[in-house]
């Protein structure tokens, strides 16, 4: 049977208590929210810690107010939040196809942003990692995906919410031993598959704030993988635009799940401001997004194919923004093939 390793579980009631608990653990701890990511890795013996600090009982992390979403809000709560979906309709589809209904009942927004990077060599049991060969990110000397890499992990960022928040211009608020700080989410993610973001270990994600002008953006999130439920993205593209007549006034693009972090493609986006969204200019953007994406063999599908699919997903996102009724059929989304479609 798969069992959890032993750890001490702390249940602070406030952000301050949690930070104090973290400082007491001298770096050897993990925060726990829904646990749908962390505990899977724990069961596999990946980078486990002796102390786990649960954030489930901290009221300040819950709740949504306008564009402010508490870090502890579950994906299920957000999915049922009609006002929120009305303001930011792009989340409807993003949430509906994220993990599975069951996981969304427990999984939280902060946990989703911080979901650990994934890799076919890493997300395995201890036995399998030993048989296949341990790697840099967990317990080995060298990367298996890019042979010879001893200081850079190429594991794939696989969260679905971050790219959407990013194109909507959201900020993230962190609380830590030195107080609170807020930064654009697009500056939050940095580094390789081990470093991942600028957050200090003790810092807690308090909230995500979407600016209210994002309500007038047209946004799309296009995710690609083999199965419509359960599967993490093999790659995805988030796009948002503000149109001025038939011209792009503002454009925001993220290529997701093709690198260690969601790729904020500012240069590509800026280059195409002022263009129209006709087929020809869409193809130019498609080519640029593809060029900027350099997937490696950390997931099941071959990298060259994933890169090609980045192009297809970009095209679909832009067509959806343009208002095409059929931006490109996703399997399983044709009418009549959706058992129990989102209620």
């Amino acid at each position: 049977m798969m069992i959890l390793p032993e750890f001490e579980l702390l249940r602070p009631r406030s952000v301050d208590e949690a930070i104090a608990a973290a400082r007491g653990a001298s770096g050897r701890f993990d925060y726990l929210a829904g646990g749908t990511d962390l505990l899977c890795n724990y069961k596999w013996g990946i980078n486990t810690e002796p102390t786990v600090i649960s954030l489930r009982h901290i009221a300040d992390l819950r709740g949504r107010d306008g564009g402010r979403v508490g870090g502890g809000v579950t994906l299920g709560e957000l999915e049922r939040d009609a006002d929120f979906l009305h303001d930011y309709p792009v989340f409807e589809r993003t949430l509906d196809r994220l993990a599975s209904p069951l996981i969304r009942q427990t999984g939280t927004v902060a946990g989703n942003l911080l979901v650990d990077t994934r890799c076919i060599w890493l997300n395995q049991s201890e036995f399998a990692r030993q048989a296949l060969g341990n790697c840099l990110k967990a317990d080995g000397p060298e990367c298996r995906v890019v042979k010879g890499s001893t200081d850079y992990c190429y594991a794939n960022y696989s969260g679905d919410m971050a790219p959407v928040f990013m194109v909507l211009g959201a900020t993230i608020t962190l609380a830590g031993p030195d107080g609170q700080r807020t930064m654009p989410l697009r500056e939050f993610f940095v580094g390789d598959g081990i470093e991942r973001f600028v957050k200090k270990k003790e810092e807690i994600v308090v909230s995500i704030d979407i600016p209210s002008d994002a309500k007038t953006l047209r946004a799309s999130y296009q995710k690609f993988r083999v199965r419509e439920a359960w599967d993490f993205p093999e790659l995805a593209v988030a796009a948002a635009a503000r149109m001025d007549g038939d011209r792009i006034a503002e454009l925001f693009l993220v290529a997701n799940a093709v690198s260690t972090i969601p790729l904020w493609l500012d240069d590509v986006a800026q280059k195409h401001v002022g263009a129209t969204l006709d087929d020809a200019s869409i193809e130019e953007i498609v080519a640029d997004v593809m060029k900027a994406s350099k997937p490696v063999r950390a997931t099941l599908l071959p990298p060259t194919y994933r890169k090609q699919m980045v192009g297809v997903m970009t095209r679909r996102a832009l067509r959806e923004i343009r208002g095409d009724a059929d931006a490109g059929a996703q399997p399983g989304t044709q009418p009549g093939t959706q058992p129990g479609a989102a209620a």
Binding site: M1, M2, I3, E6, I120, N123, Q124, S125, F127, A128, Q130, A131, L132, F224, V226, R227, E228, A229, W230, D231, F232, L300, L301, P302, T304, Y305, Q308, M309, V312, R315, R316, G328, A329, Q330, P331, G332, Q334, G336, T337, Q338, P339, G340
Partner: protein, 775 residues
């Protein structure tokens, strides 16, 4: 008995479903005994290595570690087939794949058992690894098993030739061929293997195990423990799915009993998902080459089939699989000349074995694909061409399979009509396709694995004053509904409602022999045995009614718990009146029924393989949608018509067919056991992809009833056969949609995408330039 059935043919919930849906069923891991120790296994992380030394001293010193066994504790080899007894409870001299069991540790709890496993030190000498089937046919430096001939890793060779295939190849107007390759797939059942061994105070040993084959486990335990069978009890717990993955006696079953005997305490072991993949016994990966010459008017002249299959490290059912990869190619068609060459090669990978549609699935995909090539070349409709070639009922195949009832024509016609094939085939836009496939499968293997004259199935019935009928059988209920078949047969014969019948099929001490749940034998064999037993009771009750009424015994019909005189319906004796009379001066009514297949088959080498008292037949028509931008293939709807002889319980038959569709689509579209240098690299259900709800199509299940003369109430199998036509229907539909023939499974989106890109850039672009004919 009158013709109109009272219970047979009704849609009934399975008799064990109440327990399962309320959570009351006791599965492997629900078994609890006081003082139980928890077992964990040390498995090899090397594919092929000699064990030089095992040091368990550090593990034994851990507080809470109570006992450890290794290969030194059991020397006897075992295996499901008498001809390949090549498995060891714990590796003796060498390990043969990543996952091979080296030691078993019993401890106070799971965590301590894990620590014990980690503390065992094993010194290995690496041996050359063999992962590739091609190299397995030639002599190698260190054969995986010492007994393979000529120093190669080839375990089994089958060569059969009927008639003159070369002449037929010369004569054929068209002779399409294909080279197909298949990746291994696993059963992906829900319940992990979970066993408890209990040393009884009187020295006996009891093993609780969710097995499909209690009898073979019983035999293997006797051999490995070196104990007589009567000193061992096998108790089959509720089984959370098997599909062939629980139809071997397993090393871990041996290991927990060895531990229990050593420490004299109950031992429990529950696998995690990864260990299921390591234990495997899934469908063999392999290569199948097929060539089929066909005459101008669409008649199949011959089949030439060649298969090389990758057995993994042990024999399991593999010798049978080697036969099944070829010999089932013939049905449901008339194949005048036939040649088959099959090879099974040992490799240093997880052992393969029997899986739903055992041995027949991959070859069927190849055959049905090549048949479609012939239809295209000849400008014939694939369904009409198939209809022109089918075997007749009560006929014989070239390799002397005795064909009895056969509903293949109705299967094809209903699929054709219900799917509106004539209006779709040839008229669907680029990217949408429709395809057909057929299938043919045994309804129980006529020859038992151990060639004795003991019947293959026996059922005991017992009725006492309460009027309830207790049926005893060792038929393994694994969710497929064999307990329900027993209950239906008994209730039908005795004119009782289902609540009178209680089935006990779990305990080898009280149940009469049954060979288990494999080769789709349950319904046919256990059903017949139950029916026979019930007829004996019926006679006893009729005689009692005669004594009470003076009316002749053989003139009573049984209905609604009453015995009603056929010639004079005013004469009615209630079931309880008859029973009370029958019990008088006699005691409980006891009866026995058994089933044994009649003699059949040819006299050539290997003639026994594939013989069955009846065969099921089926056809499927599937539609596919190809996402032209991504290459992802989905199946929006599928029709599957299956001739099950008679549906004793249509609800159960539909469930089986739906399950087969789901599994077949999984193998066609996404399931694969990936290996990296002999190590399974996706041993969990996130990366080993079975179809999810969104990928599951609209299913149109069509039941065809050909009323088999020897089947119980006319019934045949429906648990495995329906899987066979699914894969080729998808492959053929994909070809119809975009002109891409998938020569390897699963169908990979990146390959479909590459094909589409090539077409997009070609002169004709996305237009259907193939299959313009054939309607």
């Amino acid at each position: 008995m009158t013709q109109g059935f009272k219970v047979v043919g009704r849609r009934l919930p399975l008799v064990d479903s109440w327990k399962k849906v309320t959570g009351a069923a006791v599965y492997g891991d629900d078994v609890r005994f006081p003082n139980t120790l928890i077992c964990r296994l040390l498995r090899s992380t090397l594919p092929h290595a000699r064990i030089l030394r095992i040091d368990t001293s550090a593990a034994e010193a851990i507080p809470g570690v109570r006992a450890i066994v290794t290969g030194a504790d059991a020397s006897a080899r075992f295996g499901v087939l008498p001809i390949s007894q090549d498995e060891e409870a714990l590796a003796i001299e060498k390990v043969r794949y990543v996952g091979d069991i080296v030691a078993a540790v019993a401890a106070d709890d799971e965590e301590t058992a894990r620590q014990g496993v980690a503390a065992i030190e094993v010194v290995y000498e690496r041996l050359p690894d063999y992962f590739d089937i091609d190299e397995g046919l030639d002599p190698v430096e260190e054969p995986i098993h010492a007994w393979t001939r000529d120093g190669s890793n080839c375990q089994k060779r089958v060569d059969q030739h009927f008639g003159d295939v070369d002449a037929a190849l010369d004569a054929g107007k068209v002779k399409p061929q294909g080279h197909f390759s298949f990746i291994g797939v696993g059963h992906a059942f829900t319940e992990p293997h979970s066993v408890t061994a209990v040393p009884e105070p009187d020295g006996r040993m009891t093993l609780y195990t969710p097995t499909q084959v209690p009898h073979y486990v019983h035999r293997a335990l006797a051999k490995v423990l070196e104990m007589p069978m009567h000193r061992i009890k096998v108790f089959r717990t509720a089984v959370g799915g098997g599909f062939g993955g629980k139809s071997d006696p397993f090393p871990h079953e041996m290991a927990v009993c060895l531990l229990a005997r050593k420490i004299q305490r109950p031992i429990r072991l529950t696998f995690d998902r990864e260990e299921i993949f390591l234990t495997n016994r899934g469908r063999h990966p392999g290569i199948v080459d097929v060539q089929i010459p066909v005459s101008e008017d669409g008649k199949i002249l011959a089949m030439d089939v060649n298969a090389v299959i990758d057995g993994g490290a042990f024999g399991s059912f593999g010798v049978v699989t080697t036969y099944y990869n070829g010999i089932f190619s013939q049905g449901p068609y008339k194949v005048p000349e036939f040649r088959y060459s099959g090879r099974r090669v040992y490799t240093n990978k997880a052992p393969c074995g029997a899986m739903r549609g055992h041995g027949a699935v991959n070859a069927r995909y190849a055959i049905e694909s090549v048949l479609d090539m012939a239809a295209e070349e000849l400008n014939l409709d694939p369904i009409e061409m198939r209809l022109d070639n089918v075997l007749e009922p009560y006929s014989k195949t070239t390799n002397e399979f005795r064909i009895t009832s056969n509903g293949i024509v109705e299967c094809l016609e209903r699929c054709r009509d219900e799917s509106e094939w004539p209006s779709k085939k040839g008229n669907l836009p680029f990217g949408k396709g429709i395809g057909v496939g057929c299938g043919f499968f045994i309804s129980g293997s006529a020859l038992p694995i151990h060639q004795t004259r003991t019947p293959q199935s026996t059922v005991h019935l017992q009725i006492d004053v309460d009027g309830g009928v207790t049926a005893h059988s060792m038929g393994a209920e694994i969710g497929q509904g064999s307990d329900t078949v027993i209950a239906i047969a008994v209730a039908e014969v005795l004119g009782l409602t289902m609540d009178f019948i209680r089935v006990r099929s779990d305990d080898s001490d009280t149940a009469p022999l049954d060979l288990g749940a494999y080769s789709s034998r349950g319904c046919f064999m256990i059903g017949n045995a139950a029916r026979e037993a019930a007829l004996v009771i019926r006679k006893k009750l009729s005689r009692a009614a005669e004594r009470l009424s003076g009316h002749p015994a053989d003139d009573f019909d049984f209905e609604d718990a009453k015995l009603i005189a056929l010639s004079d319906p005013s004469i009615v004796i209630s079931y309880f009146e008859a029973l009370t009379e029958a019990l008088a001066d006699n005691g409980a009514l006891i009866a026995k029924g058994w089933y044994q297949s009649p003699r059949m088959g040819g006299s050539f080498k290997g003639a026994g393989a594939g013989l069955a008292p009846a065969y099921s037949f089926n056809a499927s028509v599937a539609e596919v949608d190809v996402d032209l931008e991504t290459g992802l293939v989905t199946c929006p709807r599928i029709w599957l018509a299956h001739d099950c002889g008679r549906a004793l319980n249509p609800l159960a038959v539909e469930g089986q067919i739906e399950g087969c569709i789901h599994m077949g689509l999984g193998q066609a579209l996404m399931e694969e056991m990936r290996y990296s240098k002999g190590r399974i690299s996706n041993p969990h259900l996130l990366d080993y992809k079975i179809l999810g709800p969104f990928e599951t199509p609209e299913m149109h299940v069509l039941i065809v009833e050909s009323e088999d003369k020897e089947g119980p109430f006319g019934a045949k199998e429906s648990g495995e056969g329906p899987l066979l036509p699914v894969l080729p229907a998808i492959g053929n539909a994909l070809y119809n949609a975009i002109g891409y023939r998938a020569y390897d499974l699963p169908i990979r989106p990146e390959k479909v995408f590459a094909h589409l890109e090539k077409m997009r850039k070609s002169e004709t672009g996305f237009s259907k330039t193939w299959e313009t004919n054939g309607r």
